[in-house]
Amino acid sequence: MTIARFWRETPRRYNLGGSRCSVCTTVYFPPRTVCPTCTAHRQSLGKMEPFQLSGEGEVVTFSIVHEPAEGFEMQVPYALAIVKAVEGPLLTGQVVNVVPEEVKIGLKVHATFRKLREEGAAGVIHYGYKFAPKEEAGTGPRAGREAEPAPTPALSPDPSRARA
């Protein structure tokens, strides 16, 4: 039974709620209670504030997984990547909505909302972030539309991030 273990992380898993050190402004994901960057860690105690990542980022490295983690069998082969968020932190996640061969270092991605795991057919379903390539404005079916910034996922401010 991992219900509570997953449930308490939902502000992070659903909405990328991280933290920022108000002393040195470094952003962390997942949130931390002390800042590893500040020379004297204790300066930052009690001064880490909630900070929401936008979900925008870039693939730093990746693997195409053929021997899956338990619960990912239906998705083989799947792309796993380390993504550098535009706000600075790096995080690990799947890249979906893409042919694995098209995943490249430097690929621009944004966070999506997907099923992560299910505890069997009768158990709880766990949800959270994965990444998908950004559909660039001016290419493919979007050609001819006004040149707006590329679409962004709506990762909205999360009131429950205070739990962070």
Binding site: P30, F62, S63, V65, E67, I82, Q94, R117, G128
Partner: protein
Amino acid sequence: MRDVAILGIGMTKFGELWDHSFREIGIEAGFQALVDGKLGSHDLGGLYLGNMASGAFLEQEHIAPLILDYAGLAGHHLPAIRVEAGGASGAMALHEGYLAVASGAYDFVVVGGAEKMTDVSDTEAARIVDATADTEWELVFGATLPSLWAMVARKHMHEYGTRREDLAALPVHDHQMASKNPLAHFRNKVTLDQVVNSGMVADPLGLLDCAPLSDGAAAVLLGPLEGARKYTDTPVKIAASQVACDTMALHHRRDLTTMDSTVFAGKRAFSQARRKPSDVQVAEIDDAYSIGGLVALEDLGFVAKGEGGVAMRDGRFFGKGPTQINTSGGLKAQGRPFGAVGVAQVVELVRQLRGEAKERQVAGAQVGLAHNVGGTGATSVVTVLERMN
């Protein structure tokens, strides 16, 4: 702190030990070490046991007194202590035993490492060992240990032009050495083509880039260097035993192609031993994944950052240079019973430094180094050994 020596060694066969239980293999290795070191049980001060996950593999926790009991030593009421550090549990147990003897707290201790991994399904075993990475922020999202190391490999290839074949060279070497090691899990030789074309586990790593899941145990007897000759003809001194840790998740590392835990443990170990990489004739490098061995050689200073691929291609550590690695067959071919690995590496180095490695002997080996990693490098342990002439 006093100098510490290895007085005796013991090791079981590594592999699929269907007929043998965890207690049996643990005891076998321990007794071998005691007998090899000519030490009576009544002189023993304690037992340190490296083990990663007996609870998950065997539904048995609290295993240090269990092994002590079945070794017939329960009546001595010795302290028996389990040590866990993921894949580095064995080397970490050695570190703890070393500190205990060096401090003078105990005179003689047995350091064992044991893991019984084949009593669960392969899927279950993979899930258990994956948990040495960050469960909440890596594994939940579909990561596995091989896929995390594969991302290190991809980055290394991208940054430094390392080739797929460069990764494959180490498993080929390992299997070549293991073919001469009767205790190794795999005794077959493999070719570069076979490694490169082995079934994909996590691109770019194939099945033959990854160490197996094995059963096995290894043990060493430690005591003060002073007076060591009473117990062995060839004492081997622990010239350095150093541990360094880093972020739990790979994605939080300073550099994705550098294991800073290895860099720091290595620097501290060379400093403690007053040695440099070129002084080392034999090294056992943690190559649970081929890329891990390549990166470790860079991080320990045996080769410059980024040149690991070329070194592998040139066979610089396979007999052509001053340092030869993984004469045991490494984790890849000697086998990978998690908690036993770090101790088994030291057992092989002692064989080499004593001149008892038979067909695998590196002539004139005086200094050896062992490198053992937990997870994707959250823990590294580096041990330097010296033959006492």
